[in-house]
Symmetry: C2
Subunit: 201 residues, 2 copies
Amino acid sequence: MTAPTTSAARLFSFIGSDAGAWRVERMHCVVGEPMPAVRALTVVAGEVPTSAAGASWRLRGITSNERYVERAEKTALVGKQEGLGRQASTCAALIPIRKNAAWWALTQDERRRVFEAQSRHIAIGLQYLPAVARRLHHCRDLGADEPFDFLTWFEYAPSDSASFDQLLEALRTSPEWAYVDRESDIRLASEWVPSPGSSPC
Amino acid sequence: MTAPTTSAARLFSFIGSDAGAWRVERMHCVVGEPMPAVRALTVVAGEVPTSAAGASWRLRGITSNERYVERAEKTALVGKQEGLGRQASTCAALIPIRKNAAWWALTQDERRRVFEAQSRHIAIGLQYLPAVARRLHHCRDLGADEPFDFLTWFEYAPSDSASFDQLLEALRTSPEWAYVDRESDIRLASEWVPSPGSSPC
């Protein structure tokens, strides 16, 4: 099955290998089992075989409907956010996370309460718009054996690297993160030749 | 990939063919493209190839976390419901549905409002417990090309057939169903030899 490579594509594959469009600047295991180290990452719309040439690993995720965002929040997000692929966004991050069984056993009202009333997940993200562009991919319901529940892809300019670190710090110290039992943080730079004096990611 | 055939299995395959554990009593297309007619259905825990011997079609779905149910509703449901596989439940139904793009563009609060405040989906289902046992499978996020969004499997005794029809009628006339753009209704009987005078499904 191959998803169309149009704006309507929902399924994306993230391929860790020796060479690709994004150079790995650093990989950090936040909690749980680490991902094997790779030197580069490629993002592809659609399905890619696990045995793709040169791939060390492949993660898949699918964009889906909102699970927590309410209309007023959506309006605020849409009013501030910008899309992926901005020319100045030469830094990116892929952050795969898995939540534990206790999270998934919560009912919808309980998860929403932890996510926003206690952790202000949406409000925190809103503070970093439009600097940090983001696409959330769901994995949990792709199959019974997915290694992560979510893959979030972020893009930002080198000058916003410190802000991006603050965003992650705010989320990781929130009550919601007590439910995260596996997380990796993969920082990337586009394979673009920097001008003298430009900042690294 | 094969999911374990234990109580922890989340992925299920529904195989329409000429012979199987459940005999098709009737198939009815409620809205949208019809499913090809088959004589029997088999339910398997885990993944089955689309080319499985004798299969006319195969649908897949995965059990997942609650999307709308709140804690008080969950407590009421768990207190009344019974599991699948009851000896007297010789009738079953598989009801695949797909919702339209307008549904999926709603935010969480908007979908909850249609689902329960306007349509009383949970309250209606509760009225038919424990007679009608049920397992909901999600398909929308299994991949980019799934033909349905949900597969619901129901089991009940022949004497509850009329109640089951009432349950479906109440849901299908609710505001939520304005968002359903494909639905089939497949009624099944277990391949069990009825005693004289027993009711059909």
